[in-house]
Amino acid sequence: MSTRPNVARSTTKPTLAVKLEHDAVQIGDLRVTFHRTLRIPDDGRRYPLPPSLGRFPVCRVEDYADRVPASWLEHGGVFLPMYQREAMWLSFDSDRSWRPQALKVAVGMVNAVSGEPWSQRIDDEQDYLVCPPQPWLDGIKSEDGIIRQFVAMPLGMGYTVEGQLTGEERFGGIQLIAFDPKDGVFTEPQEHVDVMRRYEVAQSSAADDMIDSSESDSYRPLPAPAGRSMRMSRPNRRSPESAGAEMGLGAGGRMEQQIYPDPYGAQTWDTHRFGRVYVHIVNSQLYEDITGRRPPASPISAQTYTEHGYPWFDLYDEHLGDVQGSDILAGVKSVSEIDSEKSFKPQQDETTVAIPDVNVVKYPVAKPTPTNIVRDGDWPK
């Protein structure tokens, strides 16, 4: 058994490579994609999982360093646009699925699984995901078997999870930290090696068939719109221009989703090998001010989507178990509940959507195979 202390100080520097590719953030092997989706009704019912309606466009902060709020430069990371009350979900995948990673997801520096303050510790009180097998995360873990949908709200109005638990809304966005497994815990199965070899051969053959493979445009941010500098003069202060433009995540309707208990154990993860990404969320106006681009149009309503007979989703994953619901997050009020408290008229149609069983597509989630796991006693010291 490894005797390495299982704690990383926050000030420890990240070591895993992070890249941004096709609007997905990859930390080590783990790719995190931010999906646009329907906002499900907040009517007290449990809904299946809504579809992806494409990805949110993701930009690096450093590519727009002269136009973003100064505090962003201290946090680094990426930013993406969301409309007020728009919903999001995250998907996780990896080219090396035999080698899982542990992932913590925070909203406004509040852990989305446990509701606790930010921490880089990994211990038996599980507040992290293990990917794979965890394929998706659609919201905060509020009850057993249930999550509440991620819904974007402006900072400063008291709607976000952060605002409700901390009494202030300073951070917003999403914070991700992914940990590698300790060396030697997972070994690459032989069949995966073979698959990769066949893949490489196939790629090579396909390349010969390509008519035009000469395009090699490099990533380049667009020039700043004239006269629209968003650079802030003081760190951690918002200018009048950006007040209400930065967003955090609040709680929406209830969906059936499990957070799978760590099948390998907390000692599997190397808390000294990690990568972190701060995902700033901005409204459409600030996004356009910074990038010169308009964000994608707001998705259609759940009602319209369902009337067209499009699919919803569910997983055969009961065999994988579930992390306990968080008492802290169970107390978080949804966006529509706060609307009611503030006597605001309903801002979206919360009419119950009837989803026929035949419209719910169920995918199996494979249980992690134990064949490629090196047991405790065999770990490198």
């Binding site: 990805r55 690096r60 590519d63 201290e74 699984v113």
Partner: protein
């Protein structure tokens, strides 16, 4: 005439596993059985109560075959799947207990302190390498980016065969027939 009953030491676990998969409560299973019987008025009716069903799941009762068939139908299953489940016993691989999380509710100040400590000491995020990708720089860029985002999503959810077909079609559209 005495009718056959179905006995197996893991039957209760199998029923519980099927019920969890169907996301039903025990009383909802019983209600479904009754609903199915209402839809087939000429079929023989099986009496069933929630308490009896609970006893089945805990292995304290053995159902007669017709009753088991009605239950399996309500659970979206059948005898063939039951036999397979009893052989594979997937419920044995369910984690023995749910993963724990803390029940301690922190004070608001603890959130701020933890966040400030975490974010202190230089740029918090890892350096991020951007992959080579570009978008149209004219007035069409908004639409282009949205369409490309959708295309990438479709592509990633297609089979390898369909991806090849889509690529071939894209090449034909761009370059004409070869």
């Amino acid at each position: 005439m005495a009718r056959d009953s179905f006995s197996h030491p893991e039957l209760g676990s199998a029923l519980a596993w099927l019920r969890a998969r169907a996301r039903l409560t025990q009383s909802e299973v019983v209600e479904r059985v009754f609903e199915q019987q209402r839809e087939r008025p000429h079929a023989e009716r099986e009496t069933l109560s929630t308490v009896y069903y609970q006893l089945l799941e805990t292995g304290k009762r053995t159902p007669r075959t017709p009753k088991l068939a009605a239950l399996l139908a309500a659970l979206g299953s059948d005898q063939a799947e039951l036999q397979g489940l009893l052989a594979a016993q997937p419920w044995r691989h369910v984690p023995t207990s749910k993963a724990r999380i803390s029940k301690h509710t922190p004070r608001p100040a603890a959130y701020a302190a933890a966040a400030e400590e975490a974010l202190a000491g230089g740029v918090w995020s890892s350096p991020i390498v951007a992959s080579p990708i570009s978008f149209a720089s004219d007035g069409e860029q908004h639409r282009t980016r949205g369409e490309l985002s959708e295309l990438v999503d479709h592509f990633e959810n297609l089979s390898q065969r369909d991806r090849s077909a889509l690529l071939a079609q894209a090449r034909r559209l761009r370059f004409g027939k070869r």
